[in-house]
Amino acid sequence: MSSQPFRLSAGGLIDRTQAQSFRFDGKRYEGYAGDTLASALLANGVRLVGRSFKYHRPRGILSAGAEEPNALVELRAGARREPNTRATVAELYHGLEARSQNRWPSLAFDLLSVNSLFGAGLVAGFYYKTFMWPAAFWEKLYEPLIRRAAGLGRAAPHEDPDHYEKAFAFCDVLVIGGGPAGLAAALAAGRSGARVILCDEDFRLGGALLAEKREIDGRPAAEWLAATLAELASLPDVTIMPRSTVYGVYDHGIYGVVERVNDHLPVPPVHQPRQRAWRINAKRAILAAGAIERPIVFAGNDTPGVMLAGAVRAYVNRYAVLPGREAVVFTSSDDGWATMRDLAAAGAKVAAIVDPRVEIDAGLMALASRIGAQVFAGSVVSSASGGRALDRVTIRDASGREQSIACDLLAVSNGWNPTLHLTSHQNSRPVWDEAIHAFVPGQMPAGLSVAGSAAGRFSLAQALADGARQGTEAAIDCGFAAKAELPPRKTDPEGIALSPVWRVKGGKGKAFVDFQNDVTDKDVELAAREGFKPVEHLKRYTTLGMATDQGKTSNIAGLAIMAELTAKTIPETGTTIFRPPYTPVAIGALGGHHRGRDFRPTRLAPTHQWSQDQGAVFVESGAWMRAQYYPKAGETDWLTTVNREVLAVRNGVGLCDVSTLGKIDIQGADAAEILERVYINGWKALPVGKARYGLMLREDGFVMDDGTTSRLGETHFLMTTTTANAGKVMQHLEFCHQVLWPSLDIRMVSVSEQWAQAAIAGPKARAVLQGVIDPQHDISNEAFPYLAAREITVGGGIPARLFRISFSGELAYELAVPADYGDAMMRALMAAGEPHGICAYGTEALGVMRIEKGHVAGNELSGQTTARDLGLGKMMSSKKDFIGRVMAKREALVEAERPSLIGFKAVDPSQRLRAGAHFIAIGKPATMENDEGYMTSVAYSPNLKHWMGLGLLKNGASRIGERIRAVDPVRNGDIEVEICSPVFVDPEGTRLHV
């Protein structure tokens, strides 16, 4: 086991009592609780962590935070494998397993690093200029090669075994970031009594205070931090959410947050999610996300061992890790000098500090001298070298003279960019602030303000003051009487003077702008040369800023170089907009609970258990599960079962659940009037106690839905809709009532759920029903004729509704009882029907029988058909206005040629018909021009002993007796069919009326 050679003997925010062993590329190491994978790797002297995207260059650890472009690993294994995980934010846990990615066969020896040799040809956009010949080679040869080489890690091969949750939260003030500004803001708002949520992406609160040796009021900042956290914890309406990244800002104060609930454990505890995706609704929000340090573009700047200066401090101070023993610091700001100080304090040798500025603060010079670091003022690092690990840097002074210094760490500082990403999620572009040489937030999303470094106010004192002030203001905005906070605390001095240098030209080797996408300064030059000068073109042409880090460390240098090349300023050059999410978010988290069977709710009829007991096979029918058919022992295929069910109904009696139909209770003085306006046919004359078939159109004249509606009282109707359209029709009726005709007295409510409903169909239906309804109700043909609808009782006083309606064309009833009795109703009907040979039937048999009767259903109600198309044109009243009346008369909708509904049977009765086949005249080629319509529905009729179909055919109604081809190229079908009446069974309808 490794002994963590680069771990400092003391200090840091790690728990040395909790050693945690882990594996990287199969090798075992040890770290401590409180480490990230990156800090633990560095503690063990591991610097080569990954390979780059295009050139497969060796890469190490650049940063200590979410901005990391290089140190991406595959974390975990098997079904939990997580590609592209940033080692800098991956919390170490005992047993962690990680692998480097984008290399073959190994990290140290990657064959594809030959790309580096050909690198001269692989410039930005090279692929647009070649691989065009021969055309067929793209998919077969070039593209597979590119695809295999590209990509980063490997996705998990199996279903994600962990679960995820969504969650919703509400607060007055959302504070984003738990550094000094955010903590001060949360405290100020929290003390006022406001409901506060503080989110921080880190697992430990404190932000920059964790990485720095700072003082507040003359005491170590850690004391202030501890006191602040303690007070926040004591406030009942303050919620602290660590490990929670605010990834997006959405309209009206909605913030997307992903909480990594259990990513710090090998496996989430039972009953707990891996991650939780929050939608936080905040009246006000304060962005206190800090700042991200900027690298400098110079040759070899991607060599493992070149790190951001602030990150070096984080590793030293927070993790007690020395990222190198012999360091050089390359900084264009005073801030970089703090790294020299902290490195030296931790025992590293700082060989040199290189600063392009000529004038250096005397205090800093004195510090360097005390430490023994050689100062190179007015100089730059022109190249870094060492391949898989940094071994030396070349320093160039103003006169161009170069000198080489051995080192294993180069800390680079070029000032900081405010972490303002969230402010541009509503398309606001950041604006350039010349004073701090950085972009600061532009127009803010409503309700959001920015505090501290994220606003470009970089000092600790500013952060504390800013946070307190904005926390107070936010609470006041939410109606709390907040007192102004105490004046800002005194902090120790800090240097923020800066004179950035964006790139150092002329070094030997590639100089990277975007590390992860391997975009070099030469690529930016090429883009400029080829006219891809607008920043969006630069981004898209070179892929600058499009990697998993969204250019957090690279965009600014790219812009600066483009500005230089086009002789413009940075603000004239502009900037791209950061898109959500701030850092990548797991797809699983955003899906939450809704996967597998929980993708969408399942609706079950109140008779479901009964169907199950009968051995039903169920089928998805929109949101419902409906009984499709009821196989009996010995029935080996569904058609046998369905045939039995159909014959049982036609020859005896059958029972089918129809509870899923939509049912809308319509009452009010104008109840009949609204039906007049939404249905194409007339309703005012419908007597109480009768039902009628109705058809409704959309306003554009096409059919919306159909169903049977009954008049239960003078001002009381019960409308039924198709199962699929129940919700849509309800919404439509509400629209008609509330928007179109608000003065009508109509009171509507869905009663779909209240009633269980069964169809009892077949010549013996009455006899069966007689055994179930209470005896005082007369259901003889005379007393209860076809289309009668009445409220009755069953089972000794249970209220019920009985309708004499039929989808099957047989003598049939639909009986509805309160849903609690649905199960009992089915059992009672089965018992009463037993002597009559009653048979349960499902939606398949129902479908066969409705085709036998030529009734339209979902396949015909496609939204593309008119009442005329379906042979129902005569229902359209000419005496009243109704929805769709006018548009249904448009010329193309009344053409005789329009395909209309008609029946089909195969000329050879043994042949099977297929829905979806198109009709082509015999002898004509099967082309679009000769297409005369298509088959909408087919079924095998066990009564007729052949397949039958309904279809839409040009001039359909006038062509009965003709033959035509039904061609079905996708199933190699081409058969001759005879055009026939769409009513295959009992065309006179005598069975209905017995």
Binding site: A586, D598, N930
Partner: protein, 416 residues
Amino acid sequence: MRYSVFSLLAQTLAGHKGWKPAWRDAAPKPEYDVLVIGGGGHGLATAYYLASQHGISNVAVIEKGYIGSGNVGRNTTIIRSNYLLPGNTPFYEHSMKLWEGLEQDINYNAMVSQRGVLNLYHSDAQRDAYARRGNAMRLAGVDAELLDREQVRAMVPFFNYETGRFPIQGGLLQRRGGSVRHDAVAWGYARAADQRGVDIVQNCEVTGLSIENGRVTGVETSRGPIKAKKIALAVAGNSSRLAAMAGMRLPIESHVLQAFVSEGVKPLIDTVVTYGAGHFYVSQSDKGGLVFGGDIDGYNSYAQRGNLPVIEDVMESAMALWPGIGRLRVLRHWGGIMDMSMDGSPIIDHTPIDGLYLNAGWCYGGFKATPASGWCFAHLIARDEPHPVATAFRLDRFTTGRVIDEKGVGAQPNLH
């Protein structure tokens, strides 16, 4: 300079110093024969085909920002011609054929990749509808195959076939469908048009249309007035705004459609797949990112961004279809503004104003249509008659009832 492996090699040896701008950054001339408003894919393709097919090269494309800043650079890069209705199928098939020869035609590798487009079905009714569609495609000479569950599984083994809420029963496959590198389409057309003399004018926003006696004569722009004999609007997303400058109302609403890309991963899925039980379609780019999308947000919007309900809906569908992608991360999401027409199909037509032509209403179908849209629009502008494969895309179809409603949802744009 012609692009080829030879020019690339020569330039590599020369340190890439000799590459020329892909197109000239032209300043507007006072007058053109044809002025195309909108430097997106459709506008640039129109200009290219005006020059290459009709010999009309005194043409400018004017763009308010940079070219390709609209939907051509914001879509999910899918191409297909798997349409149902005769008004659509030949047009999209014409587009597919143009895609198939595009790179050689414009000398630009747009990475046209015919990896197949697979639409899944989950019920008998959906299978019937796909059979109807697949047969319509075959009758129109378009490739289509109806696959059963096992055939689909052989192509994409890692989906949830049996244990999901809506088990997969099969799919409709168009093998010639696939994806294209979207930005390259705009750049390739721009470069090819430029080489034929077309002016590409960026940062030039139209502020007004000049109309005299029922005839359009030119435009007012942020860079001054420009005269033109014919003016062609190709500004999908903003068609209503431009039409309003000519006093016209259109059967169009502007809606936001979001798109997503995941972090790059090694090759996972080699085809484009559309989930049939939710709003989700996915493919993988050559860089390794999964590119995916779903439904439009559903409300009128000119803001190029969307909101969480649709984002979550897309991710739920993704997890329902493909439960192995849970640990992959969404890297970026963005929005584009769609011209959602009243029947879900586009408009390529003259307007009631002489000399003013309209190319609009592309809904989500715009990217795949780019070559044919340019081809047919150029034909209409040059010859003043619709191209044979675009005769159905007329403005008057809403008055006559000859709507082209593939989904059958009627005059409600957010349902198309």
